[in-house]
């Protein structure tokens, strides 16, 4: 029996969406449980983990000089962008 196109598409996108929606729920649930069960000092632990450039922002946000912050982030992202670095320019340092 040849499966109809409609069946394959609905089935396929359906399963993909069901699967990923369930994963969203599971992830949210997990985060809640982890947050509840982690005793105290969650900040210290997470700070160690978030070595990603953007993750550094919360700590840096209190720095008055926003310009430096933007420059630092830009540099970090630029480094991340690697070879496409030419296509990336900071036009001006302005407050957002």
């Amino acid at each position: 029996m040849e499966l109809s196109n409609t069946f394959v598409c609905v089935m396929g996108m359906g399963i993909v969406f069901i699967g990923l929606i369930c994963l969203v729920l599971l992830c949210v649930l997990m985060s809640k449980i982890v947050a509840l069960t982690t005793p105290a000092k969650p900040f210290e632990e997470s700070a160690k983990v978030s070595a990603a450039p953007i993750g550094a922002v919360p700590a840096a946000a209190v720095i008055p000089n926003r310009a430096e912050l933007v420059a630092a982030i830009s540099a970090a992202i630029a480094e991340d962008l690697g070879d496409s670095i030419d296509s990336f320019r900071i036009n001006a340092i302005k407050r957002v």
């Binding site: 040849e2 499966l3 196109n5 394959v8 598409c9 089935m11 396929g12 996108m13 399963i15 993909v16 969406f17 069901i18 699967g19 990923l20 929606i21 369930c22 994963l23 969203v24 599971l26 992830c27 949210v28 997990m30 985060s31 982890v34 982690t38 969650p42 632990e45 997470s46 700070a47 160690k48 983990v49 978030s50 990603a52 450039p53 953007i54 993750g55 922002v57 919360p58 933007v70 982030i73 992202i77 991340d80 962008l81 070879d83 496409s84 296509s87 990336f88 320019r89 900071i90 036009n91 001006a92 302005k94 957002v96």
Partner: protein, 391 residues
């Protein structure tokens, strides 16, 4: 004298005069090499693929024998050298593709290199990774209309998943005869993401949407990152068992990375093991592209449908992001939707670059990494569904 004639009949010059189609294939191999070396199109895979294509089309070299893998299974009895065929180096290397070993090992390395943090910080990203699989299924329908079998159409559609190992895994199971063109299409278009995606992204979004600035991602604890691979493996394997090899491999690699207790395994999985497998995979996949299979209208069709699949996937991600914005209080920038096709990390960079053109202070990269890695999981599920239906 007779011996000289015999010897001459063994040379490639004689053989090519009998069947000159191979010259075209050799020319194609040079073009692909050019793209890999000069244009830097995913060179780590495209260069071995091109060289494998060269080797397999050198007349008389006997580096690869399709007969050993005829009818979709491995003819072990012909491997000992007793029969008419003397298996060549590439035949042995190809076993790793045919048996589904290489794509899984590469995925293990990919897992060891992937940070699912941005995804965990914003789980909604997963939906964008789902929407971007649209290209797979629409292309599947298109391919069927163009006369491909369901199994072949599945393999062609999966190009739109923008994941090399997934595409090769599905194709080696469902339609090994199309492995050459599909691998070439998948890796070429992944390299062309910065060309293919921006026009579609601009077409489907308004200037205001592209300027949306997103809130910084919350930091994600190590514990969440360690639990995530277990949850994904178990859940996906329950839902679509046939996706387990792919999802299990990537999550095992990620576990090596995140637990911190297996650093030496993580390092080896993402470096030496991955490099060795990449060489073997590339050369042997390229070697399946013989003149007989590659020089046909099907190849042209596959190349066309591949780019359509990429485009539709991009559109799917962007449109779902716009649709979600109708309901969300905190709007998301629809440009990150296009990253859902995977092509990690290139598609996420495209989101960043396009977004920054409208608003130079807008840093979308980390936000786009969420859908980007979600797309890998989404494609694996889609692959599992197709294997379950047509495998």
């Amino acid at each position: 004298m007779e011996a000289i004639v015999n010897f001459c009949k063994q040379t490639g010059f004689y053989l090519i005069s009998v069947d000159p189609k191979m010259l075209i294939m050799i020319a194609i191999a040079f073009v692909l090499s050019y793209l890999a070396i000069v244009k830097k199109f995913e060179p780590l895979l495209l260069l071995p693929i091109a060289f494998g294509m060269l080797l397999t089309n050198l007349p008389g070299a006997g580096m690869y024998h399709e007969e050993l893998f005829a009818d979709g299974y491995v003819h072990w009895n012909m491997f000992g050298g007793q029969g008419d065929i003397t298996p060549g180096l590439v035949d042995y290397l190809y076993l790793g593709v045919k048996l589904g070993i290489y794509p899984c090992l590469i995925f293990m390395g990919v897992g060891a290199m992937t940070d699912f943090g941005p995804l965990l910080a914003n789980p909604k990203s997963l939906l964008l990774g789902a929407a971007a699989q649209l290209g797979i299924f629409i292309t599947f329908v298109g391919a069927r209309y163009m006369g491909f079998t369901s199994a072949q159409a599945s393999s062609i559609g999966i190009i739109g998943g923008a994941d090399g190992p997934t595409a090769i895994y599905v194709t080696s199971l469902l339609a090994p005869e199309l492995l050459g063109p599909i691998a070439v299409a998948a890796y070429s278009y992944m390299a062309l993401v910065p060309v293919i995606q921006p026009p579609i992204m601009k077409l489907l979004t308004t200037k205001a949407e592209r300027r949306i600035v997103m809130r910084e991602l919350r930091p994600v604890s190590k514990r969440e990152k360690i639990l995530f691979p277990f949850i994904v493996t178990a859940f996906v394997a329950f839902l679509v068992p046939s996706a387990t090899p792919l999802v299990g491999s990537i999550m095992l690699g990620n576990l090596f990375r995140e637990t911190g207790v297996c650093d030496r395994l993580s390092k080896t999985a993402q470096n030496e093991l991955m490099n060795i497998v990449t060489i073997f995979l590339g050369v042997s996949v390229g070697a399946t592209a013989t003149a007989a299979t590659f020089l046909s209208w099907d190849t042209i069709k596959i190349l066309c449908m591949g780019v359509v699949a990429f485009g539709l996937g991009t559109a799917g991600g962007v449109l779902l992001a716009k649709f979600m914005n109708l309901f969300l209080k905190e709007k998301i920038n629809p440009l990150i939707g296009s990253a859902g096709v995977s092509a990690v990390p290139m598609a996420a960079r495209v989101s960043q670059v396009v977004g920054q053109k409208e608003n130079p202070g807008n840093f979308l990269l980390m936000h786009a990494m969420g859908p980007n890695v979600a797309g890998v999981i989404g494609s694996a599920i889609a692959a599992g569904v197709l294997i379950a239906l047509f495998g």
